[in-house]
Symmetry: C2
Subunit: 405 residues, 2 copies
Amino acid sequence: MINIAVLGYGTVGSGVVEVINTNYKSINAKAGDEINIKYVLDLRDFPDNPIQNKIVHDFDVILNDPEVTIIAEVMGGIEPAYTFVKKALEAGKSVCTSNKELVARHGLELLNIARDKDINFLFEASCGGGIPIIRPLNSSLTADEIDEITGILNGTTNYILSEMQAHGSDFEEVLKEAQDKGYAERNPEADVEGGDACRKIAILSSLAFGRHINYEEIYTEGITSISATDIKYVKAMGNSIKLLATSKKTKDGFYAMVSPVIVTPKSPLYSVNGVFNAIFVHGNVLGDAMFYGSGAGKLPTASAVVADIVDMARHSHCNVIVNWTSKALELMDIGAVKNRFFIRIKGEKAQRLPEVQKVFGEVETFELPDVEGEFAFISSKMSEADYQEKATKVDGIITMIRARM
Amino acid sequence: MINIAVLGYGTVGSGVVEVINTNYKSINAKAGDEINIKYVLDLRDFPDNPIQNKIVHDFDVILNDPEVTIIAEVMGGIEPAYTFVKKALEAGKSVCTSNKELVARHGLELLNIARDKDINFLFEASCGGGIPIIRPLNSSLTADEIDEITGILNGTTNYILSEMQAHGSDFEEVLKEAQDKGYAERNPEADVEGGDACRKIAILSSLAFGRHINYEEIYTEGITSISATDIKYVKAMGNSIKLLATSKKTKDGFYAMVSPVIVTPKSPLYSVNGVFNAIFVHGNVLGDAMFYGSGAGKLPTASAVVADIVDMARHSHCNVIVNWTSKALELMDIGAVKNRFFIRIKGEKAQRLPEVQKVFGEVETFELPDVEGEFAFISSKMSEADYQEKATKVDGIITMIRARM
């Protein structure tokens, strides 16, 4: 019997208990032993719930119980999660977590402790919810040098953008709906401002490129400024808009960024809608690959946590090699990153186009029949710095959105 | 240093050598040791190729060299691959293979030998080319009870169907083109008759359901009877046609089948075109997931073989647990499997519809402006046996294609 403890009985924690109960037999068969939830740590009590007789309020009970060899941290936030996980690893207990903040900030240190102790620190659920992506990066794509990872990594923002595109609604309106349905938090900042996707792409990139990326250095833009009119143009062009988190190796170096991006139907990310997530990976020998699934939600996330528990049970005295070194990955200056830009301009096209073309060169223009007094165009590929400089020379820019085409 | 041997210097074998040479440093870092190709077995000589000084013609040289601990079998076909792989495993050498015929027929026996010897028999490249699917099924989706796997598992047929849909061409015409481009073999039977997809779904299902499936028991239909007119209807409906290999757990039992199927834009498989493959998986807690990428080709397939080599190097004395038991999975009688059916009927719709509806009930009908003297309809969901029985009662059925909608 393998005794485990679950830290936190919130959405994911209760999901972990539910998944282990639901698939008890098959999970034990795959783990090669019986998985027994010995403790659940939570500040609260759950008097009418059978979980109550496993509830403890003091982490030291778990830490000091030598029978507990595996811990699942699903509390979220940096503290006390960080202190608990570090103490657990130092005490020789393997830990898995769904906590992207913890992994983005302290993952490297925690991985090193696990390696020294010949135990494991796993975090499949921290990126892409139920989508298997961490383990494929660690164990499957090992023949490749990865040169790009681009993901739709946040279900809330993908849901909001999908709804805006389906119904022509405004951001604020859809956000409110999403909050009422439980798809967005009451305090949605981490999702809609891109911070959640930023932490996730930092984790994925550190694994894929084998070098540590400080998430605070990643250029990050959210979706709050996307308007219903922007979406109208995007739809009229036959394209779609997604919050993409990208890291890419170019001939000038590595860059990473999170921002809304217009994608064409040719992109496999084009049809990833609603709360689904997807992670596109390009390897130098593999070519294109994509991993798609439920990026969030109680049971999908719990499925990934429990898969980590099974993996730790199988590898009780064998550290799973993870390719995330302390060598820092220097990111290029964002000004040197090249993109195409979708730009909306105030004024009549006939009148203003010559002036625009003087600055941006030949451009493809778009007008909407029901939106007057403006037009839009897509620039050629240029550096962000180039764009910024050109943008100062053209009056009346309403919006700029990056475009992959 | 880890000495390996590659059996076969054809397309995949030369790809394996190329991948190891190209990504030498990063592969060795991930393997934790230097991977050295000591021998390449082939009947031929390659006098002007640097590979020549590794070429041996006699398998016993490899078998009897205690320095060789890992073997990659990429010859294809049952013999001599089976004999070589079995001998290698019995001699305590870990083996990986891209050979779906070998794995579908002898995988279970070879896995058992590997387990007894505490070494590994891996076969990531046997299904879905470069797409990581075997390892995710073994190690990532362990919290779930998988209830469905449906894949586009054959690049040749997906390319042919995509081209037929893009250009309205006939099967024979596109097959010839595909042969000229090297996307289809001169003897294309294994691809176009579905045999290749059948072996792959047998392997994936045995792993996912943990019980052995005999590929010879899987109902298999190819794409040779799909006509340009069929495709016209499918496009007019806004749908797409794919050769799907499916295995599914239903309340009446498990079934597996390979056949052309009409899918709607709602399916994540709808937009998988050209030589790309994709594998859709549904888990009871995970929900939907999909894995997408290059399903064939020299380098993508070699990427998967080399990932197996790295995995074997990391786990030199540790058997990777694989959930494929000798307990046979009983498949339902195909007659009990339920589907919807797209059916083309000879004659004028006005005249023949009452007769059709008498047998099939209310149906949705379709007519093409430029195809006279026939119409088509999609039936409600019914068992295959039900369909067969009803079909005998309606004259002039031109085509039947299954439909998922």
